[in-house]
Symmetry: C2
Subunit: 275 residues, 2 copies
């Protein structure tokens, strides 16, 4: 049977993947959730029609959102992830031995449950004794903490629907307040090719809240255009000057010390959004 899943990446650009089997489809309280078995990427989590993660390429996003801030911080102990219900970011965070507790805060329990059922390679660490899973509103969670976290990661869907409140200055200020005096914040912030104005706006806000603000890149083949960026805000440590990076035992497929440094080399077309 010629079954294809098509994502509308922009209104004029689609990506289509051949599907072996539709494993799960539901409408949760917050979004449409689909779990597909694809030929090219293996199992794929789709939220509101947008590809979130796949078995084949999930390592890129999860390694980069985690290891860049965690190797920038000299001794991260308390980490929070807002969103990221699939658990891939928690898996990478817990590779850092210094981390005592990593808290996942996802508003949609069904994403966590579907990931646990269908994506064991990704959700594997959610039952770790150092992992805490909280099903609640990430905005309220962050507001209710102060001076507590070494690193906070916003591992969200696109800035529409349930995630829209995660991309406003007030939220960045709440994150600043929830971080310790040398804390680091990082968020996924879309495609430099397709979302330049959005990135410019996020960067401007983060820069007004944090003394150090940087954007870094990676390549996720299932995201529009491949090129993807994260925005990082830091109270003290400059991620471009991270030292003592040692990934021994991490089994990284994308991240390395050299990749860490290179990720901050923005092409001029992307850099201009930060001016």
């Amino acid at each position: 049977m010629g079954l294809w899943f098509t994502e509308e990446q922009t209104k004029d650009l689609n990506i289509s993947c051949r599907v072996k089997e539709t494993l799960h489809v539901e409408k949760s309280e917050y979004q449409d959730i689909a779990l597909l078995e694809t030929n090219e990427f293996g199992r794929m989590l789709v939220l509101d029609g947008a590809i979130q993660t796949t078995i084949k390429d999930e390592f890129v996003y999860h390694e980069m959102i985690s290891h860049i801030p965690l190797f920038t911080h000299p001794n991260p102990k308390r980490v929070a992830v807002i969103g990221g219900g699939d658990g891939g970011t928690i898996r990478e965070i817990l590779k850092h031995k210094s981390v005592e507790k990593a808290t996942l805060v996802d508003i949609d329990k069904r994403v966590v449950e579907v990931a646990k059922q269908y994506l064991p390679e990704i959700s594997v660490a959610l039952n770790d004794s150092r992992a805490e899973v909280r099903i609640e509103d990430g905005i309220e969670f962050v507001k209710s903490h102060r001076d507590e976290f070494d690193v906070i990661m916003v591992d969200s869907t696109d800035p529409v629907g349930p995630a829209v409140g995660l991309f406003v200055k007030e939220f960045y200020q709440s994150i600043y307040d929830a971080l310790k005096e040398d804390g680091i914040f990082v968020a996924q912030t879309e495609s430099p090719f397709y979302n330049g104005k959005f990135i410019a706006s996020v960067y401007r806000d983060v820069r007004t809240v944090f003394p150090i603000a940087k954007v870094f890149l990676c390549n996720v083949p299932t995201y529009p255009g491949g090129l993807w960026c994260f925005t990082l805000g830091s109270k003290k440590y400059d991620p471009e000057k991270a030292q003592g990076i040692d990934t021994k035992g991490f089994d990284c497929k994308y991240y390395s010390e050299k990749v860490h440094k290179a990720a901050f080399a923005l092409p001029p077309f992307a850099k201009k959004y930060l001016e």
Copy 2:
């Protein structure tokens, strides 16, 4: 009218672009040529069903294939491009004032003619007094020269059809012989995500012919997965140690000194193909 162009990027993965107008379609002696006006990428050149270049993102590929070797060489005067009939690589090469002559060798005169007619922004430099356009077989051209070029670039289609002979060890040896004693060779060599074994094979061959062999990356949003690589062979100069990079007046949108250095930071999953 809902007109879409679909490229089969792999047998299980398609990319589709909304088309405003089909400006030109023909079957040349060597390949199917199409020139489309797309909503997302502007005008787009398609050869044998594969997107070659678009107005919106052509700068990435053309800047990276050109400036990495040309800023590695301290004084490039004679440059040859095998393939690259759209002229974008020649345009970037001629930004280097040291270059006295840049020779384009494309087997298909119709690609050059279609580019001149429909892609003036890309083909603009083909009539420059320092540019020479030769319609002939690149393999024979390279064989007939010895100790003549500072840089040779293989700006080809995918390694199927007319381009297949451009990805064999005998051809790399011919290029070595056609280069001066400190010459540099570079070729587009596909996607690290989708063509790892191919890259491994090319790299192994280039490494046996050239004392220095390196792979570098860029991100072309219209190519499968976005992440794309080039393989470079050099007789003397290490591209990672390039010095005195000055892009003033080049109007680069992707290339910069920082991007040059960062391009060689291969993620571990890609690096393993070079072992």
